[in-house]
């Protein structure tokens, strides 16, 4: 088990290096002179020059890179042009909203997606299977941002049940906070439920074909217990690893959803950064998100190794 943990920890190092290099490189794929592009069309020569110096673009590439890594190791992601303060601070303020939204959508997704997948697999090739899988297919086909607009139209404008935008931080009341996130979270969850249901169904069919399911039936175990104990235990272990993918999908969706519902999250920060060509903000935000995803995947993999006795004891 310790060996598994160590191996997994070591394997994240190259990914971290790659992620930070890609983020660093982002500013250098800007065609032409990055300083001119970042300063914008109306900028004076002096403004361009000050941006060049601020971002260190006047220095040789290897110096820029070592400065980037030195700062990074100290947790310094630079300063935002538009916000006039450190990027790290801005991210720290906005991360909880995004993580809360993501967590909420995943809490909705897990039971529904798994239940739908199990049901479809167990009733394979019946109308139940066809119906559940058709809905799941619709779920992964409809864009979440469009769905959220339709959600606003129905649940805010027409029915008046939920707010159409705005965020209530948890400090001002958990219920009000959840209410402000409900429509965004469900908009995100629809795609994820479809995804999870499809994966759960495939995994369950695989497990139901295994010999040990036949052994359980041969023992005289009741059908529901065969499924609930022997099938589900083997379905859940691989499904745990899907959580990493779900968080990835949810954060990607949150970029757009936060914009629509005016939620002060990292996604909104990225989009604002892009619209104002605030590159430190863009770099810092996507780096932070990638690091969080690497961390979540690490936790999920370790959890998997812990839950699967074949890996735990080796």
């Amino acid at each position: 088990m310790i060996e598994v943990i160590l191996r997994r920890l070591i394997s994240t190092i190259p990914v971290l290096i790659g992620v930070s290099l890609i983020t660093f490189g982002l500013i250098h794929i800007i065609p032409g002179d990055p300083a001119i592009v970042i300063a914008g069309p109306d900028a004076s020569v002096d403004q361009v020059e000050s941006i060049r110096q601020l971002l260190g673009l006047d220095r040789p590439l290897h110096i820029q890179m070592s400065v980037w890594y030195m700062n990074l190791l100290q947790g310094d992601l630079g300063n935002s042009f538009m916000l006039g303060r450190s990027v790290l601070q801005a991210i720290q303020e906005r991360l909880p909203t995004t993580l809360l939204l993501t967590a909420y959508s995943i809490v909705i997704t897990m039971p529904l997606g798994i239940a739908a997948g199990l049901l479809a697999a167990y009733r394979q090739n019946t109308w139940v299977d066809t119906a559940v899988m058709s809905v799941a297919l619709l779920g992964v086909s409809v864009p979440s941002f469009w769905l959220s607009i339709m959600g606003i139209l129905v649940f805010s404008v027409m029915l008046g049940w939920l707010p159409s935008s705005g965020y209530v931080p948890p400090s001002e009341g958990i219920l009000a906070c959840l209410q402000s996130l409900t429509l965004p979270a469900f908009s995100l969850a629809v795609f994820q439920i479809g995804l999870l249901a499809r994966m759960t169904r495939a995994t369950t069919l695989e497990v139901l074909r295994q010999d040990f399911i036949r052994t359980a039936r041969a023992k005289g175990l009741a059908e529901w217990k065969t499924v609930a104990k022997h099938a589900l235990s083997n379905v859940m272990i691989p499904i745990i690893t899907v959580v990493g993918l779900l968080v990835n999908v949810a954060i990607a969706g949150a970029v757009v959803i936060e914009q629509i519902f005016v939620l002060p999250g990292v996604g909104q920060l990225v989009v604002q950064g892009i619209l104002r060509r605030d590159y430190p903000v863009i770099q810092g935000s996507i780096l932070a998100v990638a690091l969080i995803l690497v961390l979540i995947n690490l936790i999920v993999d370790l959890l998997y190794a812990y839950l699967d006795p074949r890996l735990r004891n080796d």
Partner: protein
Amino acid sequence: MTESTLQAVPLEKPRNQLLSRMLSHRGLVIGAGILVVMVLAGIVGLLGLAGDALKISYQSRFVEPSAEFVFGTDHYGRSIFSRVVTGTHLSLLIGISVVAITAVFGVLIGAIAGYFPRLDGLIMRCMDALMAFPPIMLAIAIAAALGAGLLNLIVALGITYTPRTARIVRAAVLGVRNSEYIESARLSGASDGRIIVKHVLPNSMAPVIVDLTFVFAYAILAEAALSFLGVGPPPPVPTWGNIIAEGRDYLVDAPWISIFPGLAIGFSVLGLNLLGDGLRDVLDPRLTSK
């Protein structure tokens, strides 16, 4: 499980048998049908046969869906039907271009990684790093750096989806690399390049074709999201994402502006998903749970 089903399915099926299996797969046929409808709509849009998507008419602003304007009109009096149909060829163009970029680079990178073990580690760690970012976020950042526009959007999405395909190609190549017929080709003196092109790739194509169908679907979804955020081609261009974004401000009074392009996206992506599922069932039965 049963003795009679244990008989191995022959790997190389006769072509007409494959076709008949495709035609008897309901989802695949429906998906292909939707794709055909999309392509026809794209051609109609490209030739401008569905009306002028940019024609402004202040007399006919916010017209509800009616006989004259089947999908209604927007705040400039432009026909939503014309805009959605014209947007189809943009979505198709972007989707196909992204698939082409992904196919070329994904196959190239995946084949090299799978065939040359020495390069495998480095290449795949780079792919892992790219995949550590949420796809839309990475695409936004790249597209933003390159500047708004159709081509940059395509490049950004291509970079974003290449690692997935590369990973699938690599796995497929690893699967066939050590098989006997590759060994015999090597012994008969064929060069690495020739072996890859003549033997390895044809035998690892099935999962790649399936994957590229899904890339097509993701590209359409991602393009819509990026346009919606303002990172795609700028507004008068009637991409589906742009139309939805413009309609947002008039959601209460003219919901049809946003509804119809969204349905078009859903319909197209549904078709591609059906096609992808069907192709997986037919081409790559190992991946299917039957």
